[in-house]
């Protein structure tokens, strides 16, 4: 994953973002609601880096994801922590 500042703040690729939006459809309503709130508020402004981080989060099972979003567990992967913090605040 890119680490230098120029790519970190790069605007997202539309096709990747489109895929991400669909993958925010989950099996649990709890996750649907939080992810939708977040995308509605922040979606268009998400950087390529954030898209990549959310993509990784979405690979989790619904229960693992809900544990992170509800604050019952903390992410092991440090690179997704800022994103998880924004999702929890959404």
């Amino acid at each position: 994953m890119p680490t230098d500042d120029s790519t970190a703040s790069a605007p997202h690729d539309d096709r990747r973002f489109a895929r991400l939006r669909w993958r925010c459809r989950r099996g649990m309503l709890e996750n649907d609601l939080i992810l939708t709130r977040f995308l509605d508020a922040r979606g268009e402004a998400m950087t390529e880096d954030e898209v990549a981080a959310l993509d990784r989060l979405l690979d989790l099972s619904d229960n693992e994801l809900w544990d992170l979003l509800s604050g019952r567990a903390d992410p092991a992967d440090a690179s997704v922590r800022p994103l998880v913090a924004s999702l929890r605040a959404a």
Binding site: D14, R15, A18, R19, R21, W22, R23, R25, R26, G27, M28, L29, E30, N31, D32, L33, I34, T36, S61, D62, N63, W66, L69, S70, G71, R72
Partner: protein, 595 residues
Amino acid sequence: MSHGVGDVGKLPVRKFDALVVGAGGSGMRASLQLAEAGLSVAVLTKVFPTRSHTVAAQGGIGASLGNMSEDHWLWHMYDTIKGSDWLGDQDAIEYMCRTAPEVVYELEHFGMPFDRNADGSIYQRPFGGHSANFGEKPVQRACAAADRTGHAMLHTLYQRNVRARTQFFVEWMALDLIRDADGTVLGVVALEMETGAVMILQAKATMFATGGAGRIFAASTNAFINTGDGLGMAARAGIPLEDMEFWQFHPTGVHGAGVLITEGVRGEGGILLNCNGERFMERYAPNLKDLASRDVVSRSMDQEIKEGRGCGPNKDHVMLKLDHLGPDVILKRLPSIREIALKFANVDCIKEPIPVVPTIHYQMGGIPTNVHGQVVAPSGDDPAAVVGGFYAVGECSCVSVHGANRLGTNSLVDLLVFGRSAGNHVVGLALPGKAHRPLPKDAADRTLARLARLDSATSGESVADVAAALRTTMQAHCGVFRNQELLSEGVRQVMEVEQRVQRTAIGDKSTTFNTARVEALELDNMIETAKATVVSAEARRESRGAQARSDYPDRDDVTWLKHTLWYRDGNRLDYKPVNLKPASVEAFPPKTRTY
């Protein structure tokens, strides 16, 4: 997407022995049976298999293992029939309850991490409506994997399917059913979301396992994915939908969000209050109070709200109070509840009550089938003639084991029992040696016309607005309490919404993961489900199970002990008898349902 109408030859075609649409518990149980028997099987799913809505199930799977105290499948059968308010077919219920222990042990053998007793046997928890000796006393019948039963079940089935070489088509959406001139089902037209490509998936047997349609109501515990696609596709292909007026409400969904607050909260001592701070359930159910059955509690809450004793500025909800249980009980015994209340109601339930409303939870009706999962529809004198090549299992089907009201934990067992039996039936057809029937030339016309309309429309109604109008109408006119005036107006309004559905337009015409297009296509399915629901409810002039009519408060077995069949064509209704004859035991004749 530039396919001409009328020429199926231009669409790519992929052929399989069997095609399963849906990778939830029911679809994957069926596909496992098929793949292990050596058939070529494709499973289509809108989302990754383990993200199907089955993942949300917490409570458990009902089966009379008798691990905690004596239990018998006949007692499970009685509870199910009584729960169904005698609308369930007794042959199907008999088959399900008898087979339940076997499919649970099979799942254990597949590696399902069930909770265990000290002696290693499967632990079983208590659940509302489960009784020993025909209603005499409660029995522990629910098998669970902590509060993640659905999750564990999906993961177990997915692993087994991968091993058996089931072919998954992930992020594919089936759009329409293909039938030939004889009515035999030949497969589906489907959309690959990643590329926007439309294809024909042709099969010798096609099985729908697409789940429920809970998103047609404004207040729903269901994830966004539950848009009733299988029901819409079946209805458009001329297949009737059975008993669609029957929808189960869960009493405690978070007001404004729908997220389910488990019955466990009331089990631990949580109570419901109206705007006067009164524990109103004491008036409606003096014995069981807040722990009365789901339909009784939901109706009582609705009555309080209708009579002006609701809470909040709009007096449109009641309060679930649990702060008196103390932080220890809440945090230890009710995991997640505090987080749910904080996130979705903005209250800390350790200090304040949670605003709740009766919320749509489960669809009892669906595509009519027999115990082999074969789709059946009236033809000539036969009220249940088999539709060739077509099967349905799980929440999208109506076999009918839930009748007018589902017993808790009976959905997961339904998925396993009928997923397996439908799989076995298809295996018995010896499909690998047989040829595919020819596709009709116009196989994809209707679908391509729908897509072409969406692609060319430059202005029109927003999909989100029309979907919201549909949900609000269904909630207001087809909710917990129904009456003629509300329902007649509901039918009129839903038919108006249908006109709007045909005028939608989407701004985004891109091909890759176009969620806007998918949502427009889902709306086509939601409207069919909504019409079926409100039209069937309007016609049924009685109260039975989940259908509560204030103008017809009693069950009427003389006129209404029958299944509704709704046809899209002409918005027409038909009826068929309830099967009151089990195959191996005495029938349970209708009696009054009291708890």
